[in-house]
Symmetry: C3
Subunit: 205 residues, 3 copies
């Protein structure tokens, strides 16, 4: 049974926002509705699917249709709203970032539940949060955005390190998870606001 609690609601909001980000890029590439749906879906569930494949377990979205439905709703919104959707740009950015914080923590929790050490969990949290966007960019035939712009994945890593710290000092799981997700969210907001970026590699070829 699906528990409709606050985490579930955040999960749906995050899925919806991730899907919107994929569908907008698909529109830019003149994809048809099916193509847009696939790109939106892959953005939303790609990271968690890669995590579950590496953990050697059935992908999370195969247990209940809500993630496929969320993506369909995102597609319908984009089709119906059209150009008006650009007005909600800031709202989507906030949803997207909240989703990121949640996905990272979900990825860490699940990996620890499978008995892996903390460094694998931090890896999987980062993968859960950022691999969907990488697969999205591969599908639209662009160089993945997070490899040369924005501190997106580093926010995930930071959230993972906060989780590790809290875990090490024996904090309550609920507090650990809230602090970790907040770290991800805050790091991304600050990075975007102050245009903080990692240095590029010098061309050494």
């Amino acid at each position: 049974m699906i528990m409709i609690n606050s985490v579930t609601i955040l999960d749906y909001i995050g899925t919806f926002a991730f899907a919107i980000s994929g569908i907008r890029l698909a529109a830019l590439k003149k994809f048809d509705w099916f193509g847009a749906y696939v790109v939106g879906l892959v953005t939303a569930i790609g990271g968690g699917t890669m995590r579950d494949v590496l953990l050697n377990t059935t992908p999370f979205w195969m247990h209940q249709p809500s993630y496929l439905i969320c993506t369909a709703l995102a597609l319908f919104s984009v089709i119906l709203l059209g150009n008006h959707i650009i007005r909600f740009k800031h709202t989507f950015f906030i949803f997207d970032t909240i989703g990121l914080g949640l996905f990272v923590v979900v990825g860490i929790n699940k990996t620890l539940e499978f008995g892996f050490p903390v460094w694998v969990a931090i890896f999987m949290g980062t993968l859960t949060g950022s691999a969907g966007g990488v697969i999205r960019d591969i599908l639209i035939n662009e160089v993945p955005l997070i490899f040369h712009k924005e501190i997106y994945a580093m926010a995930c890593v930071l959230g993972g390190l906060i989780y590790w710290g809290c875990y090490y000092f024996g904090l309550e799981p609920a507090i650990t998870q809230i602090l970790s997700a907040s770290g991800v969210i805050l790091a991304r907001f600050l990075a975007v606001k102050y245009k903080i970026a990692l240095p590029q590699l010098r061309n050494i070829n």
Copy 2:
């Protein structure tokens, strides 16, 4: 033991046709023989492999070498026939479409056998039929064709819905499978003949 029955023959024909479609695109990109083999193989077995990885089972082609051999035969045909292969274009289109119908039904059957609900099976049938072509297009560094042209994947979804309907009304498995595969094949023929396509998304960025 390998049963040489009509389904097996159709399976080999479909594999061969899918491999040819990959090898032709590889030739366009001036790939060498090895590259062409890989692109052909991925086109033929990529969808079923993704399905089996998601179902958390050993990929189907690891149980017997026939799929690797079929792809090798497709490569030799292209090397030997060269430009003459273009004459068989319509034949390949027919084989390719029959293969598509079969692969969708195989994907649905296998997913149901693993105990998943029908909506997962429809998803997996569509994946089995169309993901190989997506990976092929990623390997040749093009935007996946099925995201902006042709009702290819929608034919798979339609076949899945027909399967669902037959299943719901308790039809015989054999009849269910034949109707479902026929639906895929017919939908694709009609879509190509009458140039039916899904609407594109308006650019909303």
Copy 3:
């Protein structure tokens, strides 16, 4: 516990060299440090990860952090050495080729241990050696190098056939593995030195 023996040392050297090859291409594409790390990591562990996913087992690098650390060391080397790294070009080529030989044999061994027949093992050995470079090229949005240049994967296949021959004639495992790895290494050196390449497919479209 990690055994520091000669195979482990070769494994680290190979991982380091594969990671360097990815990081250098990432630098050419102006990736930031994170992007470079990911591309380096994927080049080093991508092939083995795909093999382990297909074998339906936990990826090898999730058991101990040494592969992630090796890649971090490769990134730091590139950042610190900058342009001077080009001086070690020949050394890296040698390390890379030794790594290739080792990875192929490791892939074959592991697949046989899982009870698969030799043809699957040869496939997996080739995948272990060459799939990381393919994923690397997808991430930097280029057509995979090994599909149109160099006998890279064919050296892996040759090593696999040597393994098969030795195995068939009942040679000692240690000798089989050394001969197979040497075959890979020698084939690649000769192919690069004498510019041996597979024929391209004629354009038949």
